[in-house]
Symmetry: C2
Subunit: 386 residues, 2 copies
């Protein structure tokens, strides 16, 4: 396998954009990434697009050539990848694999979602399709309910508190407030987070990520060709995609996600690194409890210690392991299909030293973790400064 | 790139199965394929699933781990691929590529769709999402209308007749009547086909493929490992996936599909073969005109001669180049996401000599062509007897 580099990244702002359609968002992100990489569209050899539910959100399917042709790609394989909220993490995995294996020399990976044209109940229903509709869905267990159960059990088993959950929200809102591309740039206090409108006990509205529109893209080439294009590339040390059962009730212990543990292990092993080598991370905080669980499953802290870790400021921008300096899904926004590649763009910015007032002090090695459903898909990517 | 073999195939019957859910269909096909290949589920290293619109048809998304975990796959990357009606052709392309490039040694590729639980108008609306909803869709141009325009223009430009279109339907119904797994096992006469209920001038109901439920799967390994599993493998000589604009009105000439031409050229070139070497083919006859156009775009006949070719019996089972001996999408059925891998299963049966009363005389080399939308995606696969 060849070493691979990210030579360009592009993101739209995440937010509610009633005047923008899905395709124009995706093409904007791709065009930014191609310009950043100094690559022209006809040079691209394959296009992998992550999208969760374009047909349900906006009625448009067959999205890969629909977007690829508008971005100027010619005749190449254009493939949409769907793995729930890990759709573009998975697209990145496949794009990386295809360059690493020597199939292609220039690949574009993108992700897009346009969610805000639907009502919140309809969005919740569409998102429920990432769970098991024959069981969970039929029982009315939407994702806030599923992650509320995870939080309840984590509190029972490890003594995690509502204050610790709220601390994740406070941190991610503080980070997002400094991110010009974030959906909700609003600093909140612990008291506000705790007093948020109840969604599903113990989660309040401040424990839940946002419903957003947005797109992200990245350009991949073999590492030994990166300098032909740019001096600002980052290295992809490893990408691992894993799977598990979709229904939460099939899991022996709902306070951890085996797919996250195994994706982390594989990614660390392939990179020749361990959790202590990671200097900055974007974790999939679809709910505050998800960031806590991921920080444990990836070995950043001992099992059950994710709550105190967040509450003590260890994952703040100034802490020993900054997590979600972008604001995370919580504050930056969560246009589902764009999230995985969006995280990789955010880590790339940190590794390049481009994160402005959110810039972390140590930024040689970063990790992005993208989760699908309640843990049935996970993609972990480890990147390093050039 | 390594040579790759198909060591196992599995298909459900195609039809309307109100008592079966999408997952059980997919698992049935995968289990058949694994048994055929003498492979146990935990040995599988990656799973690629083609599905067009499970979320819209049955409300279930995140289908790759949903189905993969039920099939017994453990922790491996499970990825859903969507490229409209070429979804599982594309899944096969990516599965093949990953084995050819040395990433995996055992891959399962599947395809599934469950369509008949929706009304025909709703199915037509969901299928329209494979076209450009901002233009064609807004104008009410569903797929029968788009292919009717293609047919009209082909008739105007090349003198193709309604009788020639109907001849494709008569042939494919005759073939499907002999296929125990076909959706509609009904022989029709030319008179019946011509007198069919009008759908979109000049297409009658007999020019249109069926709305079906069904699934198909195949197991891929490196050719030099195939004999460990079976003596009944077939060789994958090449797979090519290409793309084009989605909207029909962006095409200079709607009587041909550039994506089909280029996928054919690439597949022939990679295989070191030409159209005259193909002995049996499954073409994407979503409408009768589509089979005619594909037979031209793939170089089986000169441009404009596809109609006479069919009408003269050249593509009958006993003709010089049998096309759609399975009955095609027209009579075997068209569970959209299953169609691409289903075609590959059908060609594999012919190459193995397993096609019973539909068996063609010469069966060393076969081709499958899977089309997405009105030509924005095409996958061409060339297979050879071991």
């Amino acid at each position: 396998m060849r070493s691979v580099a990210v030579i360009g990244i592009g993101k739209t702002a995440f937010g509610a954009f009633p005047d923008r359609d899905l395709r124009s968002l995706a093409v904007e992100a791709i065009t930014h990434a191609l310009n950043d990489a100094n690559v022209s569209p006809p040079a691209v050899q394959a296009f992998y697009l992550g999208n969760f539910a374009g047909p349900s959100f906006v009625g448009q399917n067959h999205l890969a050539p629909y977007i690829g042709s508008a971005a100027g790609f010619e005749t190449i394989p254009c493939t949409r990848v769907e793995d729930a909220c890990a759709s573009s993490g998975s697209a990145f995995f496949h794009g990386w694999q295809s360059v690493a294996a020597g199939i292609y020399d220039i690949v574009v990976v993108g992700g897009v979602e346009k969610m805000t044209s639907q009502t919140t109940p309809r969005v919740t229903e569409i998102l429920a399709g990432a769970g098991d509709m024959s069981g969970e869905g039929r029982a009315g267990a939407t994702f806030p309910a599923l992650f509320a159960m995870i939080a309840q059990r984590h509190m029972y088993q490890y003594g995690t508190t509502r204050e610790q959950l709220a601390a994740v929200a406070v941190k991610n809102h503080a980070n997002g407030a400094k991110n010009p591309q974030a959906h909700m740039r609003k600093v909140i206090t612990l008291e506000q987070a705790l007093a948020g409108r109840p969604i599903s006990e113990p989660l309040t509205v401040y424990d839940c990520s946002l419903i957003s529109d947005g797109a992200a893209a990245a350009v991949l080439v073999p590492l030994d060709q990166a300098s032909r294009y740019t001096s600002r590339h980052v290295r992809v040390l490893s990408v691992a995609q894993t799977s598990d059962h979709v229904a939460l009730d099939t899991k022996a212990d709902i306070t951890c996600f085996p797919a996250v543990e195994s994706a982390g292990q594989k990614a660390y092993e392939h990179a020749g690194l361990g959790p202590r080598d990671i200097e900055v991370a974007e974790l999939h905080d679809c709910f505050t409890i998800a960031e806590i669980v991921a920080s444990e499953d990836l070995g950043f802290v001992e099992k059950g210690k994710g709550g105190p870790f967040a509450a003590e400021g260890c994952s703040a921008i100034t802490g020993p392991l900054p997590i979600n300096t972008s604001g995370g899904l919580k504050s930056k926004g969560h246009p589902v299909g764009a999230t995985g590649v969006g995280q990789i763009c955010d880590i790339t910015m940190q590794l390049r030293g481009d994160a402005g007032e959110r810039q972390v002090r140590h930024h040689r090695i970063g990790l992005a973790q993208n989760l699908g459903g309640s843990g049935a898909t996970c993609v972990v990517t480890i990147l390093a400064a050039a």
